[in-house]
């Protein structure tokens, strides 16, 4: 039987894991004023084994968010500032001749970290972008005929600036699909900003933050979500209805891909887990759809300038939930 049998000895570890996540969030909230929502979404994305794309103006705390997540989860962190002269080997690493050993020695690039931040990914050339996206999908890199596994868990946070168009290479739709979620942090609320202004940047403190969990525990939680959160057939049908609605929508040229649908299920499970439940409800999807759908579907030209999240919401309005 595939259902989670709600036995008492099962429930305890699930709850315990949940508390660890709560602890992580509460620690992080201390450092990331006014970014609670973005933080939650980033963690959902992370625990769903997906990658995150943040589209925002500079200086709103993208890097801080990425470093904070890496630190609190006890993971390594790497950062790459993308420019148009960035080469794939700058990301993956390259072999350098070692005179002492009289052999080539592989020097790992910054991608060999658990959490990798790609700042302004749309400034990199398509060649470099492809190399990165391939690494994201396969979770491994091949250099000079040898394949190196990337560390697990592996989580990419890419950022891009929506306003700058000059000298950028926008990511093609097919590659956007590789990001599980696309979010924006937005301006912090006035009170939060006041705190920041009074206390100054907390970047330094973040670097010295004590981790709440370690790598193995993170993987365990990821596994737990995947296996233990139950998705009823009714919910699967609801998901299928939503997917069908995007494919038939009058606002869209192309609907959701199967990979996108899979992302919906995975994130819904994680969302349920974050809400301390071991089963998925329709709200889990409705909550997250606006971060998962817009960058994966193609809008008709006349709706390009409209609020895309609003359109997605209106599509969801048409699908009845299973009750």
């Amino acid at each position: 039987m595939s259902r989670p049998t709600p036995l008492p000895d099962d429930a305890t570890p699930l709850q315990a894991k949940n508390e660890r996540i709560d602890a992580a969030i509460s620690v992080l909230s201390h450092y990331l004023h006014g970014k609670e929502k973005a933080l939650r979404l980033a963690l959902i994305c992370f625990f769903s084994n997906g990658h995150l794309l943040i589209e925002d103006l500079p200086g709103l705390g993208k890097t801080t968010l990425a470093i904070a997540i890496a630190k609190v989860l006890g993971l390594t962190f790497g950062r790459i500032q993308c420019t148009s002269d960035l080469l794939p080997s700058d990301i993956t690493g390259l072999s350098i001749y070692n005179k002492n050993l009289s052999a080539f020695e592989f020097q790992q690039g910054p991608i060999f970290n658990h959490i990798v931040l790609f700042d302004e990914i749309n400034r990199a050339t398509p060649k470099t972008q492809s190399a990165l996206l391939e690494a994201m999908a396969e979770k491994q890199v091949t250099i000079e005929g040898r394949t190196y596994d990337l560390p697990r868990p592996f989580f990419v946070i890419a950022t891009q600036n929506p306003t700058e168009q000059f000298g950028t290479f926008p990511l093609p739709e097919s590659q956007l699909d590789r990001f599980m979620m696309k979010i924006s942090i937005g301006y912090p609320p006035r009170t939060a900003e006041r705190e920041i202004l009074k206390g100054g940047s907390k970047r330094k403190e973040i670097y010295s933050m004590e981790p709440v969990m370690d790598k193995d525990e993170v993987i365990e939680i990821q596994q737990c979500i995947k296996q233990r959160v139950y998705v009823s057939d009714k919910i699967i049908d609801y998901f299928l209805n939503v997917i069908a609605a995007t494919r038939e929508s009058k606002y869209l040229i192309a609907g959701l891909s199967t990979r996108g649908a899979l992302a919906l299920v995975q994130t819904a499970k994680t969302d349920a887990f974050f809400r301390k439940k071991d089963f998925v409800v329709p709200e889990n999807l409705k909550e997250l759809a606006q971060y998962i759908l817009p960058h994966r579907v193609l809008f008709k030209e006349e709706y390009e300038s409209a609020d895309k999240k609003e359109i997605i919401r209106s599509i969801l309005e048409e699908v009845p939930v299973p009750v």
Binding site: R3, P4, P6, Y230, S232, D233, K234, I235, K277, D278, F279, V280, V281, P282, E283, K286, L316, E317, E318, V319, P320, V321, V323
Partner: protein, 637 residues
């Protein structure tokens, strides 16, 4: 979720119960009693698992039962002890721990018992028992397959229903298949081994020698003796003639030598045709409405006193056609009625005195009237209890008890007639019957058994039917019992009747004829459609009237079929809309609850929703406990 082991237990007890029901009337009481007590014990042990009966004890009990049954077996009494022993063995098996093998053994033994019962009787009930056992055992075997994997396994109620449906389907396919054999194979009219059990029938039914008080024994029997297919006639004409008893020895009546040479002639009267299905009862006489003019049967022999008998004992169901003339008078011009005035020497001077007193100065018919007047005014009571059993029971009846059943009335009248030198004889048969209007036949039971008198009137040269029992008070035999139970019995008997008529008594030539007829009909369809216009209109009206009723039934069915979660949700949404909150179809429950402004309502609604979701979206079944809890939350809203 239900545990398979407990379902298996229930099914096993049901199957055992069915096989017991099939044979309980045949097995001896002590087998029944030990079976019942062991069964009760096994049910008790199911609840009290700490108690355990050691295996050696069970084995020795089984051995004992087998020995007892082996000792009672004779060539004439073979099947019943074996069935009894099997029953007890099943009950013992139920006491034991049950693994796959034990369940299979129990089912096999139950099937043996059922098959054994078919050797004793093959009524329609057997078909019922058989189908029931087939369905139950099939579902049990399916469940056993799971049980063999894991004895603690549980199954969802929905899947359990599926299992039952499947086994129903299997049986629905298999049973009609076996019906084919039923049509093709020539059937035995009656259970194969019935010739072994003649004594059983002989005990219940008319014989050619009847001791006083013996009819009462027959009358206690509630079984059907025969069914007569005919149109209904007046109740007072319902005398079924069977046997004539002419020799009296003081305590019993006997049928003397039968004269088959001369032919009695009948007075003219309304003729009634009957088709009679006579159950086996252990003697040779055939029954028909008084006075039977002719009975059509291959081996029938007709006597001068209008009794019909077969040369062999009737130990299988017999069907025959009879034509009767409804009259109470039988013309008989043959000489020599001396044997009808025979009495044992010095039989009851007291009665002699009474008869002399009554017949003083009277002749023939007048004497008869005087004797009848004695019965009419004598304040005699009809009763089946406390029958006289002394040395001269008739005296007892006439002068002291004044209460008895038809035998005493008829015997004393016949004896008194003989004392007055009027030839008289007893006629045994049945009186009354229950008409089944649905199928058009009289059902006559053993407790309709009756005896009446025929007196010879020399001036009319014939025998007159006289039923002195009619003069008694509280004559129970005349007013037939029309209570609810009798009506129910009659209704159920319809099935039996058709079963015998169309299944058991159907022979191969008739089957072939039926097939030929079917073939001819198919080849040359001869269906005429000439519905008059008003008829068509009427049918249309019926149809129009039926349509809303049909829709109503459909709607009701859907309402009844609504699943618990639908009912709960409907109630929840109804309550919320009363409070002014309408859930949109695309709105999730939590979402809906979150936008409720009233804090108290929101908290209560959230409690309901959380509990509901945790069952519904986990795909769990709504247990009755869960439904009650949810209902409580709804009530609090």
């Amino acid at each position: 979720m239900v545990k398979i082991s407990s379902i298996l237990q229930i099914i096993t007890y049901l199957v055992v119960g069915v096989s017991y029901a099939a044979v309980f009337q045949y097995v001896e009481t002590y087998y029944s009693a030990s079976f019942a007590s062991l069964l009760a014990l096994s049910i008790y042990l199911n609840f009290n698992r700490f108690l355990k009966i050691p295996r050696w004890l069970l084995n020795s009990i089984s051995l004992g039962v087998l020995t007892i049954s082996a000792l009672t077996i004779t060539t004439e009494y073979l099947v019943e002890p074996v069935l009894g022993a099997l029953l007890v063995l099943i009950a013992i098996k139920l006491l034991d721990d049950k693994a796959f093998r034990d369940y299979a053994q129990i089912f096999a033994m139950c099937v043996f018992v059922l098959i054994g019962s078919s050797l004793l009787s093959l009524s329609i009930a057997f078909l019922g028992y058989f189908s029931l056992t087939a369905v139950l055992a099939t579902s049990a075997l399916i469940l056993l397959a799971y049980f063999a994997q894991d004895s603690e396994i549980a199954i969802q109620r929905r899947n359990l229903n599926k299992v039952f449906l499947q086994s129903l389907l299997i049986c629905a396919i298999a049973l009609p298949g076996s019906l084919i054999f039923f049509v093709i194979l020539p059937r035995t009219n009656y259970p194969i081994l019935s010739f072994l059990n003649r004594e059983g029938y002989a005990r219940a039914g008319f014989t050619d020698r009847i001791n006083l008080g013996e009819i009462a024994e027959i009358q206690e029997n509630n079984l059907v003796i025969f069914r007569a297919q005919m149109s209904p006639i007046d109740d007072q004409d319902l005398y079924w003639r069977g046997i004539v008893l002419d020799q009296f020895d003081g305590k019993s009546w006997k049928s003397g030598a039968v004269d088959t040479s001369s032919k009695p002639s009948l007075r003219r009267g309304p003729q009634v045709e009957q088709t009679i299905y006579l159950e086996p009862y252990g003697n040779r006489f055939l029954f028909a409405l008084d006075k039977p003019q002719s009975i059509l049967h291959r081996h029938v022999e007709r006597a001068q006193d209008l009794t019909y008998s077969l040369s062999t004992y009737i130990d299988e169901r017999v069907r025959y056609k009879a034509v009767s003339v409804i009259t109470d008078f039988l013309v008989d011009q043959s000489p020599g009625h001396s044997r009808y005035v025979q009495l044992p020497a010095d039989f009851s001077p007291r009665m002699e005195r009474l008869v002399a007193e009554l017949s003083h100065g009277r002749q023939g018919g007048e004497t008869l009237q005087a004797l009848l007047a004695f019965f009419r005014q004598g304040d005699f009571q009809y009763s089946m209890k406390n029958l006289p059993t002394t040395d001269n029971p008739l005296e007892d009846f006439l002068f002291q008890n004044r209460s008895g059943n038809c035998e005493f009335f008829a015997s004393s009248l016949a004896v008194m007639l003989r004392m007055a030198k009027i030839p008289a004889r007893l006629v045994g048969g049945y009186r009354g019957g229950y008409y089944n209007r649905a199928a058009g036949y009289y059902m006559v039971l053993q407790n309709n058994a009756h005896v009446w008198v025929e007196a010879y009137l020399p001036e009319k040269q014939g025998w007159l039917r006289i039923d002195p029992t009619l003069y008694s008070r509280a004559d129970a035999s005349v007013s037939p019992d029309h209570g609810v139970f009798m009506r129910l019995k009659l209704m159920l008997d319809t099935f039996n009747y058709y079963w015998y008529k169309f299944i058991i008594n159907y022979d191969f030539s008739k089957q072939l004829a039926l097939i030929r007829k079917l073939k001819a009909t198919i080849q040359k369809p001869d269906v005429q459609i000439d519905l008059a216009k008003h008829q068509i209109k009427r049918y249309l009206l019926y149809l129009l009237a039926a349509a809303p009723a049909f829709l109503l039934i459909c709607a009701l069915y859907r309402a009844v079929r609504r699943r618990p979660h639908e009912k709960l949700m409907a109630r929840f949404e109804g309550r919320m809309s009363q409070l002014g909150y309408q859930r949109k179809r695309s709105e999730g429950l939590e979402e809906f609850v979150a936008r409720i402004e009233d804090r108290r309502v929101r908290v209560k609604a959230a409690q309901f929703v959380n509990r509901f979701e945790s069952v519904y979206y986990r795909d769990l079944d709504f247990s009755s406990h869960e439904i009650q809890a949810l209902q409580r939350r709804l009530n609090e809203l």
